[in-house]
Subunit: 165 residues, 2 copies
DNA sequence: ACGGGTCGGTTCATTGAATGAACTGACCGT
DNA sequence: ACGGTCAGTTCATTCAATGAACCGACCCGT
């Protein structure tokens, strides 16, 4: 964004949220974090954004308490993990309306194997499923990128499980 | 955002969604649309963004089928109204973590008067409440802007009800 | 019919963020 | 000591955001 990333004068919770996660690339960085990406070079290779931007975004997210830096790994905090339902809803909306080829990944509740509904709830258990209890399953037959992250995400994975052992 | 608003090469529904609603100001414009704002000058006065940016965003949203232009009014389409739960969740997240003074507005289910939970569901009826069935109630004692929209939003309103009669 | 005001934009120069390539320095394994 | 990877920083270039000025259509009162 250009010229001031803030939304001064808006007495509105949405404006506060967008000042943190509303900049270009930020929500995609967080999506990767939910997929288990933790290292600078992995974000870089998978998202293809400029290094300077990634560095700046990670720093801002750590300052906002959304990510925490442990050594050279960035991990979602509780505050960050609470974004999962909103992120999931937004992604399902994009999928319904703008993904010509249908979903590229589906999400299910680990406990019961039921596919989540668009709101992020488990239809059989009821209620929003936290990310630790969600498994992501790639839809087969999709092109797979040639970076290590894309290859790792071609296998089913539980959210938040680190990509590297 | 600068240099390409798209996220090429991401086979991801979230990237598709962000190409539509991920640019600066866009989600705030849509929030105002849920509050009943429909006219160019009302968006302008309430958000305080440059006219050129508002014009460009409204045009893009119409092209994407999120808004529809009727005469000189912009209205949410069904596709646009489906964004409500995601928008609400993001706003509640911002409110929990970054609104020092607590909520400035609260939201209740018109049918039963119950306050919505953070996921946008009605605790007593169960299930996500569509925006037509949500009433917004401003919290008293807040500073009110001096534009017509801010004054109108200082009264309780049902979402999507046009601001002007 | 004319003049003034509002509305819904477009045009334009300036500013600053995003981009991408090059560079730096720490750490590792051999 | 050497080469390679990793995690950034620096820097020139490009392009979107900003804000002010401008423009035409429409309405209203005279």
């Amino acid at each position: 964004m250009a010229l001031g990333k803030d939304y001064r004068g808006q007495d509105c919770a949405l404006a506060r949220a967008l000042e943190i996660v509303g900049e270009r690339w930020t929500l995609l960085i967080l999506r990767d974090a939910f997929y288990g990406v933790r290292r600078f070079s992995d974000f870089l290779a998978h998202l293809g954004l400029p290094r300077a931007v990634l560095s700046s975004r990670l720093q801002a997210l750590v300052e906002a308490g959304v990510l925490a830096k442990h050594g050279c790994e960035y991990e979602l905090t509780e505050r960050g993990r609470e974004l999962w339902p909103a992120l999931h809803m937004l992604a399902r909306w994009g999928e319904r309306h703008f993904s010509a080829d249908g979903p590229s990944r589906v999400f299910e509740h680990v406990a019961c194997g039921t596919r989540l509904d668009p709101s992020g709830s488990c239809p059989s258990c009821g209620g929003i499923v936290p990310p630790e209890e969600v498994r992501m399953l790639p839809v087969p037959g999709r092109p797979v990128g040639d970076d290590p992250v894309s290859r790792a995400l071609a296998e089913p994975r539980r959210l938040l499980d680190p990509l590297r052992p």
